[in-house]
């Protein structure tokens, strides 16, 4: 063969290769479909939907066509498998996507030992929930058995390669916690099977897991079945009923996942046959065409005892593949794949319907599955928006909100739609859920952002993401315990489309079994909120609204830890300032941290209209003991219009006031009439309080900090009397609380003391009554020079009825807000 001819042949080979797929594609696409669906476990890409000629100009359309063609490339499976096998044999590749190759050709799914997203904190949180679920079973619910199936790498760690171990070493701090937790019996409600498997492995050479598959072999399966039966009814399992069935071959799912082709394992096959147990009836409850079908099995036997009652087995593939073995032990057992009860509400229904529930969870997914199943299992609704009343929900960007019947429709025009949802003020150290009933037109993700005291801005680290499928979704977001700011930001999806909200709920998780704070919240309370804190108490004596000793034998003095009350007599008395205008309906709660030198009692006296003197029957008494005490007094709403009298003790001695705060509970009945759109009730109450105490309002920066309604691109920190404002971007925003003006006509002066490191510009936005969105026309700008500035904005009274928005600068940097003052300047029209 000449050079020329060989080049021609090379070209012919190339031409043949390049031109072959085109004519074959229509004939072989079905063949590819099988491969994609069975091996890749997804659907083949579809031809893009062309809504009009403009779609022909979108690059995305062609990307989809490319994906469509890729999935229909003839011989796709051969080429993929071939490449991976070559890489395995010749290049010693030991990681294929999520699959790692271990020793002796064993395959492991990396997900089992490398889950960087499941950190220790999350695992602890989920395990707390599980513990709570296990220990607080209400009467009337089924008895429960949680079965944890071990992972292959837990039982055969010696088969893991250096690659597996390198991943394991990176992020497996959670495994120990999970095992520690589930090996505890939890009153017989948990069955951890690690030791059973390891024991069997030690005594028998028969494989308990398939080398190329994630699952246990029939022998391994019997260990799990035996564990369950013996946990439910000891003595029922008889080893002699195990039947050896010879050899079994299985195509390894991990081999497929790795793209290595049809790796086949050959293992010993066995099952259980209980003589005399007859299947009376099998009732199909649904049909999905797979082992995930829910089915009920009714059995009877004259020779073998059966477990009585109705049993539900919530399973995945470990138990799902052993129905035939398990059903022989139960008189009435229903198998339900856990995906069908993938919400707390559905799990609750199952728990009420059956006598016994057995729940299988595989070790590696235990956190994720249990989190989803149990999230919000025990709660009471704090507040519900909708159906029919979503007026408090506001749009932020790329989304248009419109009511549709009893629902709220969010039309997202971009890829980052955002809305704000108000919430009740959330208490410290209490766990809450946000539950959303959402219908989506696209498969996407929904993200809920929250802010905390530590990180007062919306960012990914403070967000929760849930998968949203086309159709109706019930989403539960578990807010972490801690100080959460409102409003919350919700990005309903990551793409344009229509999102239909049916309801939002705020759910408070029921208190932990040990009891604790919150149990004396009135029945009708939505939540409690801090109205006003006098802490640090050392400042109390120096301010006009501070406390005064109202009897000569009581002395008050500042000490570093607070205010020291030295009582020479048996009835020390302190007068608290008048707090006259709390919004009607609030339920004031006074909390005091008090260190006493003796065991005695504290008493709080209050006055009501028509009762000008303190009386025993208008007082709240609480025992205190030597040492630290937390006192909590619930007062009638009108009592704050008169001076309060606090008697710290009934004996001479010293009493140290460490912290004093005034909070309030907001009765649910007041919600509708008291809430302005966009302003949750506690905020309103809080603001009223501040204004009316001060008359002429003077907020220092530090006082302003907890009152800001929202923020963007800023970090805030109290800095002495001021507020350190670290501006992170070019568009920082602070949401100032609304200011209830005594008169809506006339003008008010909003003064800011702002220190700036550079020349920039500040802007104050206000809302006219009825408006919901800030506009450029309804704002005022003010130049800012380097150094301390006093910026004065003039606004009309009615413009103070809704929250103000302050953009303190338009450059990143370290700013300081020393004070914000709002005062009435005139009732005339200054503009003339």
């Amino acid at each position: 063969m000449t050079r020329k001819r060989s080049l021609t042949l090379c070209a012919a080979v190339g031409l043949f290769w390049l031109c072959l797929p085109l004519p074959l594609t229509p004939w072989l696409s079905h063949y590819n479909r099988d491969f994609i669906e069975n091996v890749e476990k997804r659907l083949p890409a579809t031809w893009p939907h062309l809504g009009g000629p403009r779609d022909l100009l979108r690059a995305q359309t062609y990307r989809r066509i490319s994906a469509f063609l890729q999935d229909r490339m003839p011989f796709r499976d051969w080429l993929i498998t071939g490449e991976r096998r070559l890489a395995y044999l010749f290049f010693k590749r030991r990681s294929f996507g999520q699959v790692d190759v271990g020793r002796d050709g064993w395959l492991f799914i990396r997900d089992a030992y490398y889950r960087p997203t499941e950190n220790e904190q999350k695992v602890r949180q989920v395990l707390r929930e599980v513990d709570y679920f296990l220990t607080r079973r209400p009467p009337g619910e089924a008895s429960l058995l949680l079965v944890i199936g071990p992972d292959k790498d837990s039982i055969y760690p010696e088969k893991m390669s250096a690659t597996c171990l390198a991943y394991q070493a990176k992020a497996d701090n959670r495994r120990k916690l999970i095992r520690e937790f589930f090996t505890r019996p939890h009153g017989g409600r948990v069955l951890g099977l690690w030791s059973a498997y390891l024991r069997e492995k030690k005594t028998s050479p028969v494989l308990l897991f398939y080398p190329k598959d994630t699952h246990h072999t029939p022998t391994g399966a019997l260990i799990m079945c035996r564990g369950i039966i013996e946990a439910v009814q000891p003595g029922l399992w008889r080893p002699e009923e195990v039947r050896n069935k010879g050899r079994q071959t299985k195509v390894g799912d991990l081999s497929l996942l790795a793209g290595l082709g049809w790796g086949i394992d050959v293992v010993q096959d066995c099952d259980v046959v209980r003589p005399g147990v007859q299947l009376v009836k099998r009732i199909a409850l649904d049909h999905t065409g797979s082992w995930k079908d829910s089915a009920r099995y009714l059995s009877r036997s004259d020779t073998r005892p059966l477990i009585p009652g109705r049993t539900a087995i919530l399973h995945d593939s470990l138990l799902g593949a052993n129905r035939e073995t398990l059903r022989q032990f139960f008189r009435d057992v229903t198998f339900i794949h856990y995906e069908k009860i993938y919400s707390a509400d559905k799990l609750q229904a199952v728990m009420r319907q059956y006598d016994r529930v057995i729940m299988e969870v595989v070790e590696r997914e235990s956190v994720g599955i249990l989190e989803k199943l149990l999230d919000g299992y025990n709660y009471h609704v704090l507040r519900e928006l909708g159906p029919g009343d979503f007026s408090a929900v506001t749009s932020n960007q790329q989304v248009k909100l419109s009511p549709a019947g009893t629902e709220l429709v969010a039309e997202a025009s971009g890829y980052d739609p955002m809305i704000f949802i108000p919430s009740p003020h959330l208490r410290l150290n209490t766990e809450y859920l946000v539950w959303i009933d959402l219908e989506s037109t696209a498969d996407t993700y929904c993200q809920l952002f929250y802010q905390t005291n530590d990180v007062p801005r919306f960012e990914d680290a403070q967000s929760l993401i849930k998968k949203v499928d086309v159709g109706r979704n019930l989403l539960t977001f578990h807010l972490p315990a801690g100080s959460i700011w409102y409003p919350l930001r919700l990005d309903p999806g990551l793409q344009p489309g229509r999102y239909r909200f049916k309801a939002f709920q705020y759910r408070q998780l029921l208190p932990p079994p040990q009891g604790g704070e919150g149990e004396d919240i009135p029945e009708n309370a939505v939540s409690t909120t801090l109205f006003f804190a006098w802490g640090p108490v050392s400042r109390l004596l120096a301010t006009p609204r501070g406390f005064v000793a109202s009897d000569p034998r009581t002395r008050l003095e500042n000490v570093p830890a607070g205010i020291l009350v030295t009582a020479a007599g048996e009835d020390p008395q302190i007068s608290l300032p008048v707090l006259p205008d709390l919004v009607a309906g609030t339920q004031p709660v006074l909390e005091i941290d008090l260190e006493a030198s003796t065991d005695t009692f504290s008493q709080l006296f209050y006055l009501t209209p028509g009762v000008p003197a303190y009386r025993e029957d208008l007082s709240v008494k609480q025992d205190i003991h030597r040492g630290e005490n937390r006192l909590r007094f619930v007062l009638p709403p009108e009592s704050l219009r008169f001076p309060l009298r606090f008697d710290p003790g009934g004996k001479p001695g010293t009493y140290l006031l460490r912290f004093v705060s005034l909070g309030g509970a907001w009765p649910a009945s007041l919600q509708a009439e008291a809430v302005r759109p966009g302003m949750p009730p506690p905020a309103r109450a809080k603001l009223n309080m501040l204004y009316l105490i001060g008359r002429k309002k003077l907020w220092t920066g530090a006082e302003l900090l907890p009152r800001l309604l929202w923020r963007q691109q800023v970090n805030l920190k109290a800095a002495g009397p001021g507020l350190a404002v670290q501006v992170l971007g070019n568009d920082p925003i602070l949401g100032l609380p609304a200011f209830e003006p005594p008169r809506t006509e006339g003008y008010y002066q909003v003064s800011l003391k702002l220190f700036s490191p550079r020349a920039t510009e500040a802007q104050l936005y206000y809302l006219e009554p009825g408006e919901k969105n800030y506009r450029e026309e309804a704002s005022a700008r003010c130049g800012v020079r380097p150094g301390l500035n006093t910026l004065v904005f003039l606004v009309e009274g009615r413009q103070l009825l809704q929250p103000l928005r302050l953009d303190p600068a338009c450059h990143p940097g370290e700013y300081r807000l020393d004070a914000l003052e709002i005062e009435e300047v005139t009732t005339g029209d200054l503009r003339r």
Partner: protein, 475 residues
Amino acid sequence: MVFSSVSFLFYFLPVVLLAYFLVRPAWRNFVLLLSGLVFYLWGAGEIVFILMLSIALNWVFGLMAAAARDSGERWRRNLPVIASVIVNLGILGYFKYTNFFVAQINHLGEITRAGFMPVYLAPILLPIGVSFFTFQAMSYVIDVAQGRVEPLQNPVDFGMYIAMFPQLVAGPIVRYHEIAPQIHRRGVTWEGFSAGMVRFIHGLVKKVVFADSIGLLADQAFKAPERLSAAGAWLGLLAFTIQVYFDFSGYSDMAIGLGQMFGFRLPENFNRPYSAVSFTDFWRRWHMTLSHWFRDYVYIPLGGSRRGPWRTYLNLVIVFFLVGFWHGANWTFVVFGLYHGFWMSLERATGRRFAGEMKHPLVRRALTFFLILLGMTLFRAENMHQAWTYYQTLFGLRGGTQFLAPGTDWQGLVFLALGSLVVFLPDNLVVGRLLEQSEKRAVAWMRLGLATVALTFAIMLIVSRNYTPFIYFQF
């Protein structure tokens, strides 16, 4: 669309080839224009209109330039050229550099505390190939204005020259006078087609098998340089240097091969650049069409080397500053360009530019490669900070102990070794060349076998890239 994709290789290309050879020769330019526009539309969407606008305007500028050639007034002669430069650099500047300049202005305002309002701008996506087609369009108008070639009367022909898909998105940059005769008359023979197909396969294998495999090593190294030992960092840098050569030259080979299939002879773009004995030599071997473009349209108009040594050095620095900036809107590319400009000037000053002028070419070759290797850090780093970190790691001033990232397989290393042999061995020892040129029967069979195996392996790699199993699949 990229050449090494399923949709291009197995669907787009066969259809275009079929159409090209089925239609009458007079319609072939139209087929190429249409396929070029579809090719561009596939990757860039509606930005295809920018390409079409550029074609239309530059075609008009070409006609204007031809009409004004005999004009006595200088401004009239220069006007079409100036208009073309403004339009093309305007397109290039807007799409490629606007975001960069806005970021610099805002940054400048920040560090000088000038107090002006920052400029807000939504990110502008860079259309593929904009750096190439704008340069080609300018070369056309300039060549016509200089009387070197006649203008194209038919907009289809001109559109085909700009939008011909083989060289549309990554070159070679074809100066108009190089291809002008082929636009109307080009011979398409089976021999030429075969040579083109072989060249295309050659390029595909270089890109998919070598560059992409070696790239895994480079990516791992530059992803976390702080974990690498000095030896690991040198290996990563070497991997990138070899990768970028195989990647770019592979793409050029594919473009040239495709051109040959359609009857064109596109200019060569690479000639064993890492065997250069100086920077001057390097730029005569590396991305040659870009070097030629800058030489003809920037360096010589600036005065070249005719205005004394200092002006020559300045011209070199200016040209290489622009070459660096052309590669990307990032300070790393600017510094990369200046780095090369500095060495070019130094070589010019010392007079040691070519192998014939020096006593120890092997030593010079090694030294040149070492300096090029150092410069490649700037080419690969995402920003100056990363480049600085990488340099520190290279010289042991910081970094960890890792030589290779955990889980690294042999594929990258094997192809790095093979690629290094191809790059560093003398020309007459490179196996590929021997295979290509030998007339021996056994070699001919080996050539066929190797081409078949390599192409099949490349296709395997391309297809398996799209293997995306659902990870949490139902066991």
